[in-house]
Amino acid sequence: MGGYAPYVWSTFGITLVVLVINVITAKRRLRSVREQLKLRVARDARRRSKE
């Protein structure tokens, strides 16, 4: 890499890390919204069956 190795590798490395972070956060957000809604719907169903 002709003396540029630390610069080149660090930029590619940081880019890869940021891309992975984006995949994880998007997936995690969708999953957490889904879980919250499932809990809410189940709770409402229980409450309705008690009445």
């Binding site: 002709g2 930029t11 891309l19 998007a26 957000r29 919204v33 809604l37």
Partner: protein
Amino acid sequence: MYLPNWMHKLASPPHFFRISGWLAPWLLWPAVALIALGFYAGLVLAPADYQQGDGFRIIYVHVPSAYLSTLIYGLMAAAAAVGLIWRMKLAYAVAAAAAPIGAWFTFLALVTGAIWGKPMWGTFWEWDPRLTSELILLFLYLGFMSLRTSFEEPTKGDRAAGLLAVVGVVNLPIIHYSVIWWSSIHQGPTIKKLDAPSITWEMAWPLLTLILGFTLFFAGLLLQRVQAEVLERERNARWVTEIMRPGIEGG
């Protein structure tokens, strides 16, 4: 205001939710393949630059990130404008979903640019027009995100942040033309006209591959994030409670 029928249908949250859930993996997997190919080609196959040596390879992560940082902002502001004008809920969801991804790519453009600047310009940072306007872009994204969530009533947050996004569009031409209007330490565009780019094809094709890969990657992530936004915003709608009933997978 007249809108064609397919647009009405696409703008209906349950319809969009179903389509985006199906489409996201078809965007993300090709994106991963293109990015892997682009990384390999950019690091190994492309020849070293006659002036910058191997240091020029940073272009392969810097330019796609910088390009996306402005593209995503334009899309976010357009979505916010549609939300403000037509009161379209889905448009606000798109703007809200785009903001964090745009902020990440702006961060990447700034960081990779700084690391590139050190060996080429002798400094990580300079208060140069191009660099400063890109930093303002990051602040616009962060401002949008915090303004949107700082209201008790979510619709108010959507509107206030949407207005900020639309006003912030003035920054886009400033970023784009900054290297032409002012004397900047930043170099001019590399691929301005596709018929006469200022780099050879051996160097250009990995860059084009990565630009396409990053764009597909963003599109796939956006759809996933819009799904989360739509579910949260429509949580009282019948179609949401329907698919969230216990025992029903997917949704």
